[in-house]
């Protein structure tokens, strides 16, 4: 909950109109982004991302499971977000559930692509060990540790970083079982498969305040928004997902305009994020 006085509201809105926001940023500038990988040793991959004072942790856990009957050639990927009351007292008890579902669904839309799997950041067919019998189930968990706006972008970045940090053990199918039997598998302790995460999209949220839209809104700025659109955009500049939040309607031509702005911003964000991720990975190797 953000309690703002009338004066503060005018200050935020006026600043956005003049392209000088309360913290000195321009409308299209992100707060500093900080990435740390490998923060949860028990997981297959993990990362902590801090954008300004927003902080999230993402972890990737892989478990062996059975592919669904409908898609025998595909593994399963699930994304869950948990809002810790540490970040916001209103998340206590069941208070964070609505936001958790909203963020989980938005991330699934943005990162997992369409029903056939096209446009997904992670290729689900790469998770299959033995077709129709054994596959990896990927559980991606996000945790909000500190919330100061722009949670979706931070979670998207954290998931991208966690996936590039993920090593999935190589699995050898030792005895090829016939018929309905489950084959025996041997999980390697030494060989790990890495994901190619260059295709994983980044999420750029444009928040509309007044007539203008801004990137990376703080929670004070979010309280003044009329609506916000989150674009998930990959390296090619293609849109991989889109969700809108906030009530008021937007003119379709404004949306097209926002798309081109988001594509431009995503290029910078991808470059920035990938250099941060590789720096974090290098830093982890040294330790």
């Amino acid at each position: 909950m953000v309690g703002l006085s009338v004066g503060e509201k005018y200050f935020i809105q006026g600043g956005i109109n003049q392209n000088l926001r309360s913290d000195g940023r321009k409308r299209d500038t992100y707060r500093p982004i900080f990435v740390e990988t490998g923060v949860i040793p028990q997981a297959n991959g993990s990362a902590r991302v801090r954008i300004g004072t927003t902080e999230v942790i993402a972890s990737v856990k892989a478990e062996l499971g059975r592919p669904s009957a409908l898609h025998p050639d595909k593994g399963k990927v699930a994304i869950f977000v948990d809002c810790s009351p540490v970040a916001e007292p209103t998340f206590e008890g069941r208070g964070g559930e609505d936001l958790s579902t909203e963020l989980s669904v938005a991330l699934q839309h943005c990162l997992l692509g369409g029903k056939s799997g096209a446009g997904a950041g992670i290729d689900p067919s790469s998770l299959v060990v033995a077709e129709g019998k054994v596959c990896w189930d990927l559980y991606i968990d996000g945790l909000i540790v500190s919330s100061d706006g722009n949670l979706l972008d931070a979670l998207g970045a954290a998931i991208k970083a966690a996936l590039s940090n993920t090593g999935i053990p190589r699995v050898h199918v030792t005895a090829a079982a016939s018929g309905d039997e489950q084959p025996e598998v041997d999980i390697s302790d030494e060989e790990f498969l890495q994901f190619d995460t260059s295709e994983v999209p980044v999420i750029v949220t444009l928040t509309k305040v007044g007539r203008h839209y801004i990137v990376d809104a703080t929670s004070e700025e979010e309280s003044q928004m009329s609506s916000a659109i989150s674009f998930s955009i990959n390296r090619k500049g293609h849109i991989c997902g889109l969700t809108k939040r906030g009530g008021s309607g937007i003119d379709p031509s404004v949306i097209s305009d926002m798309i081109s702005v988001a594509q431009h911003i995503s290029e910078q964000l991808i470059t920035k994020l990938e250099s941060e991720i590789s720096a974090a990975e290098a830093g982890e190797d040294e330790l």
Partner: protein
Amino acid sequence: MEYVSPEGLRLDGRRPMEMRQLRAQIGAVAKADGSAVFEMGNTKVIAAVYGPREVQNRSQQIGDQALVRCEYSMANFSTGDRKRKPKGDRRSTEISLVIRQTMEACILTHLMPRSQIDIYVQVLQADGGTRSACINAATLALADAGIPMHDLVTSCSAGYLNSTPLLDLNYVEDSAGGPDITVGILPKLDKVTLLQMDAKLPVDIFENVMQLAIEGCKAIATYIGEVLLENTKQLEYRKGL
């Protein structure tokens, strides 16, 4: 299973009376009034304190003292097997209660009547001793929030396996099923505020194990004192004093 080798080394290479590596950091959550991260080996918890502030639910307001509330939650990825439900199970409720009672005992609640203090603890990684780590993190967070307390509560666990008292059990030792004791003390006042034990233990051995846990608590108290002092120095430095 052998938990202490003939050379006197435990599974993770520690001596029986050795504690895991401690690490603490103050101020991890920008929006909270006080917050801290506390690590004991692989166990890592984050605590945030909001308050003292207006009581949210009027019916819970206490006329002559502050209302202390606590919620404990575990992240989905905190354990080896992925948890499906991050909070609300019986174990979480029980630990929330333990932390609340322990912290309430040391906060000078009578100084803040009709107000509310919320303590939220989030386990990022669980490797045994989460209860103790949570209490230590909560103490640091309360101190960071500037809430008046009698003393800094610290907590540590100890167990008894292979006829040896062991300090600060990790997950494997904790799940061995032997007796384990969690102690919380007020180190300056030399008082025990929390004592939990399951399984049975002869009285004379219990005293040994308990003494070991208390020693552990005191060591943690020294460390927490150092961290707080260092933090205060940093604040002073930033103020330009």
